[in-house]
């Protein structure tokens, strides 16, 4: 009897372990957004829809700003229950999109750095006549309408030079100022991320290279690699490097630079005279979404001028709606796409793998020798 009981316990325990291991992994946060409060200003005229909508989000400030300025007004207007699914990188989202093709678990996703272009061209996204179905599309800047097969931009990633005003021996005005020998050991070098590609593309274009010949770009960046740079593989690492690792100047995006300034650090942000780099954070609907109507309404809300103004000042991204008025916001002068030019991800995307490998071999390996 005791033997049978023991074996029974072993059986149940083993089965329990197996089933637990096989249980579908919950997203880090799939809780419904809090509250159904009417936010008043900022909400668009979305139809009353009800039901649920699963929206992908990044973490941190992005999620907080989206919840406050997009989700809650939308829920109040439409009665739709928005469920946020936190997925931190475009690559993970793209993988999921690929695997779930036609049967998505997400209704609204945001991607950038060329993956939005890739996904749109691959037929993974729902076909939407944005101009008709989401009228706020017609108020967007041309840069924000770059990838209609994916969707509109909800804010641009804008890259310029962030620098420590107390430590920099000069005020940078050009991308080539990053190559100044006085910055030896204190200049940042992006690696394995979109910032790296952006600077590589610019250096290549500016030094006679083409999309089929990146040799000039690599030759130029090799000079930066010889300055004992501080290598960072993400915007967050770059932000930390300013604080922890005595980095004086680097190519960084507006949210990180403004975030540091808001923390009280002497960090300034400038767009170089050649222009900064900008690309869209595109929002779209995976093909086969069961909540298409609500998803389109959600996106239309997100690109509304008033919502965009609130979203931009909260998240420190240049707004995508040309009518968005940032008022007297302290950093309004850098939250613009006028001083930056778009990175042609559609040209870079076919060469992504080879450029990544070459960048590792010739630039980051050289930088850390």
């Amino acid at each position: 009897m005791r033997s049978f009981r023991t074996r029974g316990v072993v059986f149940i325990a083993t089965l329990g372990v197996a089933l637990t291991a096989c249980a579908p992994g919950a997203s880090p946060s799939t809780a419904p957004s809090a509250g159904v409060q009417s936010q008043g200003a900022g909400a668009s005229d979305a139809p009353a829809l009800g039901g649920e909508l699963t929206v992908q989000t990044y973490g941190g400030n992005w999620r907080e700003c989206m919840t406050e300025h997009v989700v809650e007004p939308f829920e109040a207007e439409t009665g739709v229950d928005v469920i946020l699914a936190e997925i931190p990188t475009s690559a993970e989202i793209f993988s999921r999109l690929q695997v779930e093709a036609g049967n998505p678990t997400l209704d609204v996703i945001v991607m950038g750095t060329g993956l939005d272009y890739n996904a749109g061209e691959s037929g993974l996204m729902e076909e939407v006549d944005w101009a008709t179905e989401a009228p706020n599309w017609n108020q967007l800047t041309p840069e924000s309408q770059q990838f209609p097969k994916f969707g509109p931009s909800v804010g641009a990633t804008a890259i310029g030079i962030a620098y420590n005003a107390d430590k920099m021996p000069f005020e940078p005005t050009s991308w080539y100022d990053l190559f100044d020998e006085r910055l030896d050991g204190h200049v940042g070098l992006a690696a394995d991320n979109a910032f790296a590609f952006a600077l590589l593309w610019f250096m290549n274009e500016d030094n006679g290279g083409t999309v089929d010949n990146f040799d000039p770009g690599f030759e130029q960046l090799a000079k930066l690699a010889d300055l004992n740079p501080i290598v960072y593989t993400s915007a967050a690492e770059g932000e930390t490097a300013f604080v922890q690792r005595d980095m004086w100047a680097a190519a960084i995006n507006t949210p990180r630079a403004i975030g540091l300034a808001r923390e009280g650090l002497p960090i300034n942000f400038v767009y170089p005279e050649e222009g900064g780099f900008v690309w869209p954070s595109s929002v779209g609907i995976p093909r086969g979404s069961q909540n298409r109507e609500a998803a389109v309404a959600y996106i239309n809300t997100w690109i509304d001028a008033e919502v965009q103004a609130n979203w931009a000042t909260c998240n420190n991204l240049p707004p995508s709606n040309a009518e968005a008025d940032l008022g007297d916001y302290e950093f309004a002068d850098v939250l613009t796409m006028d001083k930056a030019f778009p990175i042609p991800w559609s040209d870079i995307e076919p060469h992504r793998a080879e450029l990544t490998e070459r960048y590792d071999r010739e630039i980051t390996s050289r930088a850390q020798q």
């Binding site: 922890q244 992504r352 793998a353």
Partner: protein
């Protein structure tokens, strides 16, 4: 004559469904990954798939990738060896000595496991960076600022961070092994005139080899598969298989290349498990043969 009936133990029957479930959910994905690694698949606009071995040949033909494989294996060897050198004395102390604070010391040594890998690695970045406390200490000791060696983004830094977290995976098997050695054997050695060191070398050490092998295999496999430490502390100049896999999958979107890296990592891990056991078994066979011949 009656037919022989196969006697299947009852407990095997009871856990079989769960084990089949696990085996199918591991074997099937592994098979998919292996097949993917021999194709030219790219996520994005559909293109005809072709068979290729390029994703494997690069690891042996291209010096850059060959270095990555060598560095990966070397990382496993260095971490295991360092853990053994530090861990064996600790295991012996825990197993054979009784002192106040023993349990507390063991708990303290387990604490790195309570902290997430990313947080732990960022801590090492702050410690080893050129503006960190180690650099400050060296400068205080008289080393000129420009002569303070680069500590971060080096191979030793990755090894140190891995030893920090994997040490207990070496200590515990050895501890268990030593605890299993009857104290009377060591006492007999000392009674017969052997010094404490000779007693340890001739009695304790050989009998603790199973624990050493188990710990060594565990640390080796865990270290070659580690990702956070090589990425955060080693950086792009200290690429190992796991970081290349991540780069190929996440940034290059070269899924077959990432799959091949994963399969290669698995093969190395299998070798690491099988080879030491074969060697140990062979060595022990030689010992038995030598003893039986009066050697």
């Amino acid at each position: 004559m009656g037919r022989r009936q196969l006697a299947i133990p009852g407990w095997v029957v009871q856990i079989a469904p769960a084990m089949l479930l696990i085996a199918s959910l591991m074997a099937a994905p592994l098979a998919i990954v292996a097949i993917l690694s021999f194709t030219t698949f790219r996520p994005g606009p559909a293109e005809p798939l072709q068979f290729t071995t390029d994703h494997y040949s690069r690891w042996f033909v291209d010096p850059y990738y060959r270095d990555v494989v060598i560095r990966t294996v070397w990382l496993g060897l260095a971490t295991s060896t360092a853990c053994l050198i530090v861990g064996y004395p600790l295991a012996y102390i825990f197993a054979r000595l009784s002192f106040r604070g023993r349990a507390l010391l063991m708990f303290v040594m387990l604490t790195p496991l309570f902290i997430g890998a990313v947080v732990r690695s960022l801590g090492w970045v702050m410690i080893l960076d050129r503006t960190g406390p180690v650099a400050v200490l060296l400068e205080a000791m008289g080393v000129p600022e420009g002569d303070v060696p680069q500590m971060l983004y080096t191979f030793p830094a990755v090894v140190i961070s891995l030893v920090n977290v994997l040490l207990m995976f070496m200590v515990l098997p050895i501890y268990s092994s030593i605890r299993g050695i009857p104290g009377t054997l060591e006492e007999a050695g000392r009674t017969l005139g052997a010094s404490p060191f000779k007693t340890w070398a001739k009695v304790t050490l050989p009998l603790s080899v199973p624990g050493i092998v188990a710990g060594w295999i565990l640390v080796f496999v865990l270290s070659i598969g580690s990702f956070v430490q090589p990425r955060v502390i080693g950086g792009p100049s200290q690429h190992v298989l796991s970081t290349i896999l991540y780069r190929d999958f996440s940034f290059s979107l070269d899924w077959p290349a990432a799959a091949a890296a994963g399969i290669l990592l698995l093969v190395i891990g299998i070798f690491a498990v099988v080879l030491p056991r074969l060697v140990t078994k062979r060595v022990m066979q030689w010992d038995v043969e030598a003893e039986s011949m009066g050697g």
